[in-house]
Symmetry: C2
Subunit: 342 residues, 2 copies
Amino acid sequence: MQKPTIKDIAKALNISPSTVSRALSGKPGASEELRRKVIDTAQELGYMKNLSAGTLKNSKSKIIGVIAFDIRNPFFLEFLKGVEDVLFPREYKILLSNVDENVDKEKTYLNWMIGHGVEGILASPVTEKTGKSNLRLYQDFFKMGIPIVFYDRLFYNQDQFDHVIVDNQDVIIQALIHLKENGHEKIGIFLSKKGIFTIEERLKGFLKGCKLLNIPVKKEWICEDIYPHEKAIEVLNGLKRKNNLPTAIIATNNNLTKYIVYAVKKNNIKIPEELSLIGFDDSLENELIDPPLTTIKQPILEEGKIAATSLLSRIEDRYARPMRVVLKGELIERKSVKNLKS
Amino acid sequence: MQKPTIKDIAKALNISPSTVSRALSGKPGASEELRRKVIDTAQELGYMKNLSAGTLKNSKSKIIGVIAFDIRNPFFLEFLKGVEDVLFPREYKILLSNVDENVDKEKTYLNWMIGHGVEGILASPVTEKTGKSNLRLYQDFFKMGIPIVFYDRLFYNQDQFDHVIVDNQDVIIQALIHLKENGHEKIGIFLSKKGIFTIEERLKGFLKGCKLLNIPVKKEWICEDIYPHEKAIEVLNGLKRKNNLPTAIIATNNNLTKYIVYAVKKNNIKIPEELSLIGFDDSLENELIDPPLTTIKQPILEEGKIAATSLLSRIEDRYARPMRVVLKGELIERKSVKNLKS
DNA sequence: CTGAAAGCGCTAACAG
DNA sequence: CTGTTAGCGCTTTCAG
C-alpha cells in the first residue's frame, strides 16, 4: 500500500492530474460535480497532498522554523504554545530546534531550516562570551528575503530585523524600586551566562537603576556568568561563608531562581527574614514555594503570539517596515521581600 | 539575491549539475580536486541543499513528526530534549505539534506530517472520554509502512506498534506500599482527564494495589476526570467542607500535583501533619515546595531518547519485530508523607 | 471546463 | 571521471 498521489485519483476517475489538482485546490476550472467526485475519491483512497512537491514548485512550505536557545527552559512551554495558537489556524507548522546556547548548533539548524524551505524563522539568537554569533548568517538570510523575527533576544544595531522582546532594563528597575521602597540598600543580582542579550540588558538595568535610586553598587554582589545554573549554589555558599550576604537578591532567570531558593534553604537562611529574594519568570510554583516568591513576570504567551503574528505579516509583505515590539513585564508581589523599614 | 541552487554552482564552474551533486554528496564519481572546488564555490555562494527536492526524489525528508498531547505539559521539556539529543547527531529534525488533547487536531497534524513526508512519527495518542480516537488513522499509516512509535500512551490490543511507556500501575503500587508502610489506610487519588491511557492505568494500579495491600477503597476518594486541572482545587475544597479528607492523597500528574498543593495551602491544611501527599513527575520544584514533596518520578529524558532511538531503528528496518519498552519509575522519598505509626 | 506539457531542485541510471 | 536524461508530485501556463 503506497501513498496515493494525484495521479491515482486521476486514473480512478479517468481524468487528468491537472484537473484533479484544480479540483482539490478549489481553484476555478473544474465543475462542481467533478470537484465533488474528486474530493470523494481522494477521501476514499486516503489521499494526502505531498507538501514537499508544492514546496519545490512554489516554495510555500507552510513551515516556520523556531530557533530555541535551550528547550529545557520552561520559557518555551509558554512561548511555543503562543506560537502554535497563532500558526495552527493558518496551517503553518513548527520545525523545532534546540541549540543549547551553542553558536555552531544554531548555525546547523539555521541551514537545515533554509534547506527545508521554511517560510520564515523565529529566532532567539545565541551570542557567546567572546561575542561570536551567527549575525552574518542572519544578515545573509535577510538579504535573501527570508522573513526573520527575533524574540526574547536580538542583535544590537541591527534595526532592519523585526523583533519582539521584553523591556529587560525596566523590569529590573521595577524590582529595584520595590526593594528600595522596602528599605533595601544592599542588593545583589545573579546573572546567567554572559554575553546573552537579555542578561546584559538586565545587568544594565541593574546598574542604571542603582544609580537612579542611589543604591550603592558592590562588585561582589553582582554575580555574573552563573552557568550552568547549578553554580548559583556555590556562589551563594561563598557569599554566606564570607558573611557577605546582601539583604536582597534579584534573580534574572527562572532556573537561577530555583537554584537560589535551593541554596538558600540548604544554608538555612530564612526568606525573607534574613534575605529577601525576587524571582524571575512567574509560574505556579513560585506561588507554592515557601515563602511565595515575589517575582518578575514576563508576558511570555503573548510574546509567542506576537512573534508568530509578526512573522506571518512579514511573510505576507517582505517589504513592510521593520516591526519592533517591546513588551512590559510586571512585578508580582508576594512574600519574599521583607520590609526593613517596619 | 535568490537562494543559489546546484545549477548556479555548475554554471560558475562550467560543469554539469549532476557532477556538483555527486561532489557535494561525497558519492564516488568526482575527482578530489573538483570536489574541493565545488565545495568552495558552494560555500562562497552560500549554497544550501534544497531538502524538499530530495524528499520528493527519494522520500528521505530527514524529518520526524512529534505528536504532543499538550505542549504546556512540563513533560515535554524533558521528553523533547531526550528526542533531540538522539536526532540531532543523525541529522533528523523535529516537526512539532500540539494537539491539546483534541482528537480532531491530532488528525489534522497527522495528515500534515504525512504530507510533509516525515520519515516517522513519535506519538502519544489522544483518546476521548467517549473512546473516540485516531486508531484507524494510525492503522492506515502502519499499513502504508510509516514508522510509528507510541510514547507515554498507547492503544490496547494493538501489539503491532512499537512503544515506550512507563509502568504506570507499578508506580502507583509503589506509592501505595510506601503509604501503607507509614500506616495509611485512608488513601485518595486524584486523576486527570478520563479515557487517557496513562490515567486509566494509574487508576488500575490504584485499585489493584489497594486490593493487594488490603486497603479499603472509598469511592469519594477516587477523584476522576479532574480536567482542566484547576478543578483539583474545588474537589479538594469539597472534601474538606464535608470533613471527609483521607489521610493521604496520590496525585497522578505534575500539574495536578501543583494545584493540590495550592488548594491544600489555601485551606490551611498542613502537609504532612494533617494530610500526606505524593506528587507525580519529579522536578526541582518538588524539592523546594514546603514541605519537599515525596514524588513518583518517571524517567522522561530516557523515555525520549529510547523513543527516538526506536523510531530510527524502525525507519532503518520496517520489518523488524515490534519493539515494546516498559520503563520503571521510582518513588523519591522526601517529607510530605507522615508516619502514622510513630 | 478540461487535457497536455513544462518545470521547481535534486538524484540516479545510463552513456560516453 | 563526467555529462545527459528522466522523473519524484504538484501547479501552472498554454491549448483545445
